[in-house]
Symmetry: C2
Subunit: 379 residues, 2 copies
């Protein structure tokens, strides 16, 4: 893998995907089934000639065809100041049954997270979050002067709402929840979550990060979006086009909040929206087929990885998102390095779970290769 170019790494999941999976056999319409046959016969899956990106929870299939068409059509607008988000705001308003005034558009949900961190920092207060969880908001808040209070997950590695409630101090300005969480892909039980939001938001902001919302299919899960529709104050819900829509590189994300808070957040953001991302997201959010396809493929990939865990007796957290969190028992730095030697990029260490690994779902065929490598190295 040492001679792989940066471009090959970047293109791994998309343009080159499928190409050269079996480099010794000429590619024909029958190639996939031949590969499955070889696999069924116990023959090795050959290493793909691209790097498998299993490290950033991206969508290996995106952007969708309609998004790509929209990107191409909007190239002619690239010289114009045309970042009016009205179209995408109206669409998201319809899709989520909230008012346009409830919506803040950011350059990725990263920007929504950063702005919330900025508000907490400017208020010189503290922020309560689970540990581990996604770091963008707390990192920004800490840099901007907020104190961060990290509350360890419980024995089942679930977000510990009771402990978080106890950790809230008088100066706590914001409580940050990620649902499903990341790197631990579990959900917060919906009734407990709702009760928490209603109680805690009486005096401070509750931020529910729903970046992986579209992947969840669990009766115990619920979005908090309906509370926004009902006029709940002090609540921010965020969503993103980076995950299921496969538009991480184009930076379009959404914050939902009471109109006053949403407009304050829009005023505080320093970033600007690019026209190609706006157009691509507008197309993609109307493309349910692609979202369904992505979900189907993601579950197929998860079945491969979780199947391996069952087979080898590896502890893992049943995934509600597009990534796995598995107890490899190996220090993650070593695990990452060994995997990278075989052309597979995996997630960074998430202390204190340094002997666990976060594996983002690439395509099912890539995850089969991952399993083969894992078994050879550690099985």
């Amino acid at each position: 893998m040492s001679n792989v170019t940066r471009r090959q790494v970047l293109l791994g999941g998309t343009a080159l995907a499928g190409a050269g999976l079996i480099s010794s056999i000429p590619s024909t319409p029958f190639t996939p089934s031949m590969r499955l046959m070889r696999s069924a016969l116990g023959a090795d899956i050959e290493a793909p000639d691209y790097v498998i990106r299993a490290h950033y929870n991206e969508n290996p299939y995106g952007p969708s065809r309609v998004a790509i068409q929209s990107i191409v059509e909007s190239i002619d607008l690239a010289n114009l100041y045309a970042d009016d988000p009205t179209d995408i705001v109206n669409l998201l308003s319809e899709l989520n049954n909230v008012a346009p005034e409830n919506i803040m558009v950011g350059s990725g949900s990263s920007e929504v997270l950063n702005v919330a961190g900025l508000l907490a920092g400017m208020a010189r207060g503290s922020v309560v979050c689970a540990d581990p969880t996604y770091q963008a908001l707390v990192r920004y808040a800490e840099n901007a002067g907020a104190k961060i209070i990290r509350v360890p997950v419980n024995e089942d590695l679930g977000t510990d709402l009771d402990a978080m409630k106890r950790a809230i101090r008088r100066d706590t300005k914001l409580v940050y929840l990620v649902n499903p969480n990341n790197p631990i892909p579990s959900i917060i039980e919906k009734n407990a979550l709702r009760e928490f939001v209603l109680e805690v938001s009486e005096k401070r902001i509750v931020y529910v990060d729903e970046a992986y919302h579209e992947f969840v299919d669990d009766p115990d899960y619920a979005t908090m979006m309906d509370l926004i529709a009902q006029g709940q104050k002090n609540l921010i819900v965020s969503r993103t086009s980076s995950k299921i829509h496969g538009l991480a590189g184009l930076r379009i994300g959404f914050g939902f909040a009471h109109p006053g808070l949403a407009s304050q957040m829009t005023q505080r953001r320093t970033g600007r929206l690019n026209i190609i991302g706006l157009k691509a997201a507008h197309a993609s959010y109307q493309d349910q087929d692609f979202q369904d396809f992505t979900i189907r493929k993601t579950r197929e990939s998860l079945a491969v990885v979780e199947g391996m865990c069952e087979e080898l007796g590896i502890r893992y957290i049943k995934s509600k998102g597009n990534f796995s969190f598995i107890e490899t028992g190996i220090e993650n730095d070593i695990f990452q390095a060994r995997m990278e030697e075989h052309g597979i990029l995996t997630g960074r260490a998430f202390p204190p779970f340094t002997r666990w690994a976060r594996i983002s779902m690439a395509k099912p065929e890539d995850m089969r290769y991952f399993v083969q490598v894992y078994k050879k190295l550690f099985g």
Copy 2:
């Protein structure tokens, strides 16, 4: 014009440009010279079938062909977290003879301006600026809690450095200069500017916004970039890919400062960079031909508009940028509305110069049509 679609408005300056300029004559290789003949004979230039965007100081020719090629090539990266700005930072470092550590990349120079406004706001200080000038920084700063001190331009409508120096208070955290200024397209004399920067930056930040830098050809003008290279503290210079590079819709801009300040600004930005904009800018900044072409065409357009001013005895400020500021003598709201009836969008009012108009340079043929309309309406 009332039936023109939004898409036609947006596409006016680029995709449809040139099409249908003389709708009654079939387009042939001889069409342009025929049009000139008609014009020379006093015949009317017919209204183009697109809206002329003379309101936002955009580049009617951009993006360049190499930028477009780069955009197309990077569509495959749109699903990836790939906003590492290393390549563009290294390129800008080379081009401007500064260290990579001197550079902050923002989603447009808007983000650099906003972050500077945020820093001033968080410090709860005041900001001194010329009046009129570009508003992004002061608007953000004011919203974030800063007091804005506006210093009227002098009799020649030039930035009044002496008055600005006198306006500085003990709590002034930032002095904002735009050079060339906007909406008044004049420059600040280079020696006076340098002296001002060196003196004022001893105790506070001086921000020199050089968005129109590439258009200037005047021995009395100088960039302050060399001071950055020399290690000057408390100085921010900004540049943008939105103007001469024609990439306003893709939001890539640059702040240059001492490494400590540059990294503080990067930490404070809430926005994120999109991969297509990064790739397009990287290509465009290496395309000197396109920049030269844009400058040539801009000067041709300016000659058309300034020629009209000379002919009709209209006061105007000799332009160093890609726009004119002319004393129409008509309240700008009325002027804008009359022009829009003829398919020409012009700049908003810039109080107290409400009887002046800012005219952004569209293509020369569009500016000839503008002149024809102007003469008919007001000549």
